[in-house]
């Protein structure tokens, strides 16, 4: 699908970003990861959550972003901010329990919401593909209260077994985070994809389909996921991107197509 002025026509990344912008509450603290989360947060700041406290791991606190940052450490993350601080301070704020959400981008994910952004292959010192590593993801997934992951959905990304657990989800299931020493009551909250919104089952901590995007069938969601998904009893339909969301996204948030132009 191509970018178009017809508002019923939107590409999968535009859908992802618009849906992502709606889950953030105004006046909450959110630690924003690189890529799609930055676009969703900026869109949320423009439309739904003007007082959202966006925090960036390199030290930017509550900026009024003039446009999409390229990096979680560039000057836009402290543009008209309330504080230009340190990574130590930001991560300690997360560890202290002051940060409600973290919003992380694409990686491999398993049914407990564990993430791989480190490597593909069997030999750690000699991987088939080396990815960046944790960056701040492990810290944020460990220390913020609720983790939201935003990523396109396919069988390469939603896998039975990760080659490397970079960032903790629910690890092996209920109670595993606490046993490992991670802060009590923290953990995965939502996964937002181009097909659906997923949550987690309270008892098993397994991923559960909560809402299908317009025109998407449940079978299609399962086909794009290697592990078996649970389904919510009250399965909902996600409202499509609004005209206003798409306009602000295309004209103000990402006019250069840094993210929404990446569709294959």
């Amino acid at each position: 699908m191509s970018k178009s002025n017809n508002n019923n026509d939107y590409n999968p990344l535009e859908l992802l970003i618009c849906v992502g912008s709606r889950v953030l509450e105004d006046n909450s603290t959110v630690e924003v990861g690189t890529g799609v989360p930055m676009a969703s947060t900026l869109l949320a700041q423009r439309l739904y959550a003007p007082n959202i406290i966006a925090i960036f791991e390199a030290g930017g606190v509550a900026p009024l972003m003039p446009g999409l940052p390229i990096s979680v450490g560039d000057s836009r993350t402290s543009y008209r901010a309330i504080m230009a601080s340190t990574m130590n301070d930001v991560m300690e704020t997360c560890q202290r329990g002051m940060v409600d959400y973290t919003f992380l981008g694409g990686a491999q994910i398993d049914m407990y919401g564990n993430l791989n952004s480190t490597m593909i292959g069997a030999i750690y010192q000699n991987p088939k593909v080396r990815f960046p590593g944790s960056g701040g993801a492990n810290d944020l997934g460990s220390l913020c209260w609720k983790t939201i992951v935003i990523t396109p959905m396919d069988r390469r990304r939603f896998v039975k077994k990760l080659d490397f657990v970079t960032t903790p989800g629910y690890l092996t299931g209920k109670g595993a985070r606490e046993r490992a020493g991670l802060p009590e009551g923290s953990g995965p909250y939502k996964v937002i994809t181009n097909l659906c919104i997923l949550g987690y089952d309270e008892e098993t901590c397994r991923m559960k389909v909560e809402s299908l995007h317009p025109g998407v069938e449940l079978e299609q969601v399962q086909e794009n996921c290697e592990f078996e998904l649970l389904v919510a009893n009250d399965l909902k339909t996600t409202p499509p991107p609004t005209e206003e969301e798409l306009r602000v996204l295309r004209e103000e948030v990402d006019p250069d197509g840094y993210i929404i132009g990446r569709v294959k």
Binding site: G73, D74, F131, G133, T172, R179, Y258
Partner: protein
């Protein structure tokens, strides 16, 4: 992942730096206390302060406020077997690894260029076992610098636990003597050389940074030797007018280099934006090994110094363009021009 992984108490990979605080104290005891002029050239600073097999820590954020001139000189002087804290590193670790300078790396972020994707050249370097790897997370390395800055041997933390990031680190777990809770114990990091680009410094090495500080105040204090490159030198009197702006004090610093536009192609907050044309060219050129070699020849080996490099990337005109982008001036002007054209059309 299985139960055993959760119960692992020690990371499996190598600890590259000795966390012993008394050895660190013995070194810091020898550091210069006097206010002496430390201004030098990048060539001399690298020749005298960076030795083969040293462990480096580079300030900034990989492509934001990076000490490019010093990194290029390390490559030009063909330093070898260096270790590095791959802490939020991007262009810095990429070019050092691509030029064959590194043989070990504490990784929290390498290979990636955030929303621009991955570097093929960094991938070739880090996927081979020529570089020995130990993984951490961003705050793990930030807190390891803090532990060094505080003169400790470790710091407890609540990240990394239960994951392969812990398993492939050199951290251990520890039980809190007060609460009985389990923590990760992160070993202090005392790098041999810290290299940081700042906005302003005086000749003694007192530094002012605008915008976010990332981990640099800690990195500077934990490092045994520190090289500062500064956008500009300012009189000591300016430092004393605003002492709250000094985030790195002179006694941490061994060399001061004045290097305008010294973070190119990286962003310098308040000064100039990323050179996106350069990053596109770089990521395209280094897709092949020959391309990497060509890049290193064209932009580093066959260039005498950083002034020569700046001329090559477009000189003052290019840097002015990047300054305007940083200050959002082009965008505003483009919008104004658009509306002016509209007005004209309407009136016509």
């Amino acid at each position: 992942m299985d139960q055993e992984l959760i119960d692992i108490e020690e990371g499996l990979e190598e600890l590259f730096c000795d966390p012993d605080p008394d050895k660190a104290r013995a070194f810091f005891k020898t550091k210069e206390r006097g206010l002496v002029n430390k201004v030098t050239t990048v060539k001399d600073a690298v020749r005298e302060l960076v030795r083969d097999s040293d462990y480096l820590a580079v300030g900034g954020f990989g492509h934001v406020r990076i000490p490019t001139a010093v990194l290029y000189e390390i490559i030009r002087q063909k330093k070898r077997d260096l270790g590095m804290a791959g802490h939020t590193s991007i262009y810095d670790s990429d070019i050092l690894a691509s030029a064959g300078c590194l043989n070990r790396c504490d990784i929290s972020y390498v290979v990636g260029y955030e929303i621009r994707g991955l570097s093929a050249s960094a991938r070739r370097a880090f996927e081979s076992n020529k570089i020995k790897k130990t993984d951490w997370s961003n705050s793990a390395l930030a807190w390891r610098f803090y532990a060094g800055a505080a003169g400790l041997s470790f710091v407890p933390s609540r990240n990394m636990l239960g994951t392969d990031t812990f398993k492939r680190s050199a951290a251990k777990t520890i039980r809190c003597p007060f609460t009985g809770k389990k923590f990760a114990a992160l070993p202090a990091l005392y790098p041999d050389v810290g290299i940081i680009h700042v906005h302003r410094a005086d000749i003694y090495g007192n530094c002012q940074i605008d915008g976010i500080l990332i981990s640099d105040p800690y990195l500077a204090r934990a490092s045994k030797r520190v090289i500062i490159s500064a956008e500009k030198l300012i009189p000591n009197e300016e430092i004393r007018k605003n002492p709250q702006m000094t985030t790195i004090p002179y006694w941490c610093v061994d060399a001061v280099i004045e290097e305008p536009f010294g973070s190119h192609p990286g962003n310098m907050p308040g000064e100039y934006w990323f050179d996106e044309d350069f990053f596109r060219m770089y990521l395209e050129t280094v897709k092949t090994e020959e391309g990497t070699q060509k890049f290193l020849d064209d932009y580093i080996y066959n260039v005498e110094n950083f002034e020569g490099y700046l001329e090559k990337i477009g000189g003052l005109r290019k840097m002015t363009e990047l300054r305007n982008l940083e200050n959002l001036i082009f965008q505003k002007r483009a919008q104004q021009m658009k509306s002016r054209i509209k007005v004209k059309k309407q009136s016509a």
